[in-house]
């Protein structure tokens, strides 16, 4: 049954099945992917979303906590603002996310969320406070102020004082006045005291800035106040001492000192704010606990959502396992089918290959499965094989025919050559007879000329005889006329005699003698009538003859004329014949050449037919490569010269030269008889 299927149908059906399976698999895969995607979507929009929100909220939270710490530590105002802004942003984001989460949170987690909300609000307030405090940036500002303005003013004051002191020292070195010297020394000391105290105050300022604990601050302030009081004292001393000599210097010192003290006061005020520290303590205290609580709540949310996600994941996994099994099964089936198909296809192809290989080696005698489908490649090969068989046997036959024909051709060629030789010899004969003919023609031309002359003469003579004959005819007519008269007379005489006889009869006895006379007269009349009629006949005959002669002569004359003309034509044509004969001679020579050529061609043809025969042999040999059913074919005998093959009657196309063939067959029969061993010769 399988052999009935064509290779094409096997391949097509196999591929279609595979394609179907593929489609099914793809469809299943796509479907399950879709399912998983939906699951995923659910997951994402559900628990995962929640987790994400919670995580992000945690992030925000952490951001805020980090931010506020940074803010506390920050020194630069713009930086602080930036950080404050970031904190605000984080806070707003978190609020948003909180709103979002509120809408998607599950029922059991709502409580947690609300708790978180309140916790976060508290924390947020704390942060806000801390931020405000931090932004006061008191410590930093104070420090900055101290470093910049403070240092500057301090430096200016100190440098002023120092330069004055150095100046005074220098002046004092060269001052001899002891009073002045003592004044200068006092001045130097006052300046030095002021310097020192200002230095101390400066140190105290620094200490104040660094102080964070309130106790320290208070103590430092007391010290500072005390130092400032001392400064004022020393200042008044200085005023006193330099009032007279250097009021300008006093004014400068006033200015600088006022300036420095102002700055100092400001710094201290700023330091007192202690915003940064307060912010920091706020953060580290309430803020931290609130933060921790909020974080914990968020974690709880996350955990709750985590479990939800886990269950969703399990579902997906189960679904995945199902699908995997299905697809594996489909895959296996597909593999099995493809293997089967491949097997069948390969089998068929192998079969075909084998068959084709053998055909390629020339074996056309393979057995083919008759059940195979005609449309299949195997069936087609079968047809091809059959066709090849028939073609090969036909070709073999044809080769044989060609060989036979070529040998005949060579025979014919020989014949032609022979014929050509005969032709050549007969041409020579013809040539010689042509010469003879030429001479004959010349001779006849001459004769014609003579004949013409004679003819002319005859014409004239014939005319003359014609005239003579006419004359004799005329004479004869005359005679006939005269004889007619005599006849008439004889007749009338007869009648008279008759009448006389009648009268005599009527006269009876008396008329007897008269009857005799009448009878005699009648006889005479009859005799003369007879004679006259004979003469008439004779003359008529002669007349006829003469007339005939005359007519003939008359006819003769034009005939002679015609003869003369004809003879002229003859002589003219004789001349032409002569020319023609010459041309014929020429043509004969050419013909001779042609004949020789044809003889040569015939030889060539014989040679070519030999070649052809050889080629036919070769073709037969080549065809011998193919093994076909040789029962009906003819095996050709070896090509010995121009021998003819013996043909058996089983050949489909009888050769056209059958009589000779049958003759050959007869000879063959004869030979067979001779060779038959059963017949013993006595």
């Amino acid at each position: 049954m399988l052999s009935r299927l064509t290779l094409k149908s096997i391949i097509v059906s196999g591929f279609s099945i595979l394609v179907l399976m593929l489609v099914f698999t793809s469809y299943s895969g796509i479907d399950s992917a879709q399912q998983l995607d939906r699951q995923l979507d659910n997951l994402v929009s559900g628990p995962s979303e929640r987790v994400q929100l919670a995580a992000r909220m945690r992030q925000n939270l952490l951001g805020i906590s980090a931010g506020i710490r940074e803010l506390v530590l920050a020194k630069d105002r713009t930086e602080m603002q930036k950080i404050a802004g970031a904190i605000d942003a984080d806070r707003m984001q978190l609020q948003e996310r909180l709103q979002a989460l509120r809408s998607i949170v599950s029922a059991e987690n709502k409580g947690v969320l609300e708790q978180f909300d309140s916790t976060f609000t508290a924390y947020s307030n704390t942060v806000h406070e801390a931020s405000k405090l931090a932004q006061l940036n008191s410590n930093v500002e104070a420090s900055a102020m101290s470093e910049n303005e403070g240092e500057r003013s301090y430096d200016m004051l100190i440098s002023l004082l120092e330069s004055k002191r150095q100046e005074l020292i220098r002046e004092s070195a060269s001052e001899n006045n002891s009073e002045r010297l003592r004044q200068m020394l006092n001045q130097i000391m006052a300046v030095a005291n002021l310097q020192q105290t200002v230095g101390h105050v400066q140190r105290l300022e620094k200490k104040y800035i660094l102080a964070t604990a309130q106790t320290v601050l208070t103590k430092t302030e007391a010290e500072k106040n005390e130092a400032i009081a001392r400064i004022r004292n020393y200042k008044s001393d200085l005023d006193e001492l330099f009032r007279l000599t250097d009021s300008g210097f006093i004014e400068e010192v006033n200015r600088e000192l006022t300036d420095y003290l102002g700055v100092l006061e400001r710094v201290i005020e700023k330091s007192k704010e202690n915003g940064n520290y307060r912010a920091f303590s706020l953060i580290s205290g309430d803020g931290k606990s609130a933060l921790l609580r909020a974080e914990d709540l968020l974690k709880r949310l996350v955990d709750a959502n985590d479990s939800e996600m886990e269950s969703a994941v399990e579902e997906s996994e189960a679904y995945y396992t199902d699908i995997r099994q299905q697809l594996l099964a489909t895959g296996l089936v597909s593999i099995v089918i493809s293997v089967l198909i491949a097997f069948f296809v390969v089998q068929r192809i192998n079969l075909v290959s084998r068959v084709v290989a053998r055909i390629g080696e020339g074996d056309l005698m393979q057995d083919f499965d008759p059940n195979a489908n005609d449309a299949d490649i195997y069936g087609i090969l079968r047809r091809m094989n059959n066709k090849l068989q028939s073609i090969v046997s036909q070709v073999k036959e044809a080769a044989n025919n060609v060989a036979a024909g070529s040998s005949e051709l060579s025979d014919t060629g020989q014949q032609i050559a022979q014929g050509a030789t005969e032709q050549a010899s007969s041409l020579e004969e013809v040539a010689s007879s042509m010469e003879q003919m030429s001479s004959n023609i010349a001779h006849s031309a001459d004769n014609a000329r003579q004949t013409e002359q004679i003819a002319q003469q005859s014409a004239t003579e014939a005319e003359q005889s014609g005239k003579a004959v006419n004359q004799s005819v005329g004479a004869m007519k005359n005679i006939a006329e005269k004889i007619g008269i005599i006849e008439e007379i004889a007749r009338q005489t007869n009648l008279l005699a008759l009448n006389a006889a009648i009268e005599a009869a009527r006269a009876g006895e008396h008329g007897k003698g008269f009857t005799v006379v009448a009878a005699e007269v009648r006889k005479l009349a009859e005799r003369s009538q007879r004679a006259a009629s004979e003469i008439v006949d004779l003359s008529r005959d002669s007349l006829e003859v003469s007339e005939t002669a005359g007519e003939m002569l008359d006819k003769l004359v034009p005939n002679i004329q015609r003869t003369s003309n004809l003879v002229q034509e003859i002589s003219a044509s004789a001349i032409e014949q002569d020319k023609g004969a010459a041309e014929i001679n020429k043509a004969l020579q050419e013909l001779d050449q042609v004949v020789q050529q044809s003889a040569a061609s015939a030889e060539e043809m014989a040679a070519t037919s030999e070649e052809l025969s050889a080629q036919a042999d070769q073709m037969s040999d080549t065809m011998g490569f193919f093994k076909v059913d040789d029962r009906g074919s003819v095996s050709r005998p070896a090509n010995t010269g121009y021998s003819r093959p013996m043909t058996k009657p089983s050949l489909s196309k009888p050769r056209p030269i059958s009589p000779e063939t049958s003759g050959q067959a007869d000879k063959g029969v004869t030979i067979d008889l001779d060779d038959d061993d059963d017949f013993v010769k006595y």
Binding site: R491, L495, L498, I502
Partner: protein
């Protein structure tokens, strides 16, 4: 024809349409050559017409036509035989057209055989007998019987018994 009591009869033999006929000489006046015949209107076919013979108007009869024989053309041998017949007791001359006049022959009475009844174109009544002369068979005509029939009588009358017309004709046409 007179009674055949004589031993020998003299017969004039003549030919009508290749058949040889004979008539007794006693009835025959003469034989003349053929001459132009003046036809007479309202006459039967066998009545050829009339001729003028030496002043006498003679009707000419064509026995061939009368007997229903084949008519032959007029030749040099054609003759008119003038015979004498009795018409109402009076002799009357009548001309017979003959293709050829042969001769006067003498027959013995014993030579005359009777005519055969059948196979003859001519009514047997008109035949006197048959005689053998040399090779020919001469049919002897009974002229009196022929010319005693009413037809011929009328014809002859029409031709002969009107001498006034005849003379008038004669004068018109002149002699012969």
């Amino acid at each position: 024809m007179t009674d055949a009591t004589l031993e020998r009869m003299q017969i004039l033999s003549f030919i009508l349409d290749e058949d040889c006929f004979g008539a007794e000489i006693s009835a025959i006046q003469e034989v003349i050559e053929y001459r132009r015949v003046t036809s007479v209107p309202r006459t039967p076919d066998f009545m050829l017409g009339v001729i003028n013979l030496r002043g006498q108007v003679i009707p000419v009869v064509d026995l061939r036509s009368y007997f229903g024989l084949n008519l032959r053309e007029i030749t040099v041998d054609s003759c008119i035989i003038i015979i004498e017949v009795m018409l109402e007791g009076e002799p009357c001359a009548v001309g017979l057209l003959a293709d050829q006049v042969k001769e006067v022959v003498e027959f013995g009475v014993d030579e005359i055989k009777p005519a055969p009844k059948l196979g003859n174109k001519i009514n047997a009544r008109f035949i006197y007998g048959v005689a053998q002369h040399e090779e020919d068979l001469v049919i002897l005509l009974w002229l009196s019987r022929i010319f005693s029939s009413d037809e011929l009588q009328d014809v002859i009358e029409a031709g002969a018994t009107e001498p006034d017309q005849g003379e008038a004709q004669m004068t018109e046409e002149g002699a012969d």
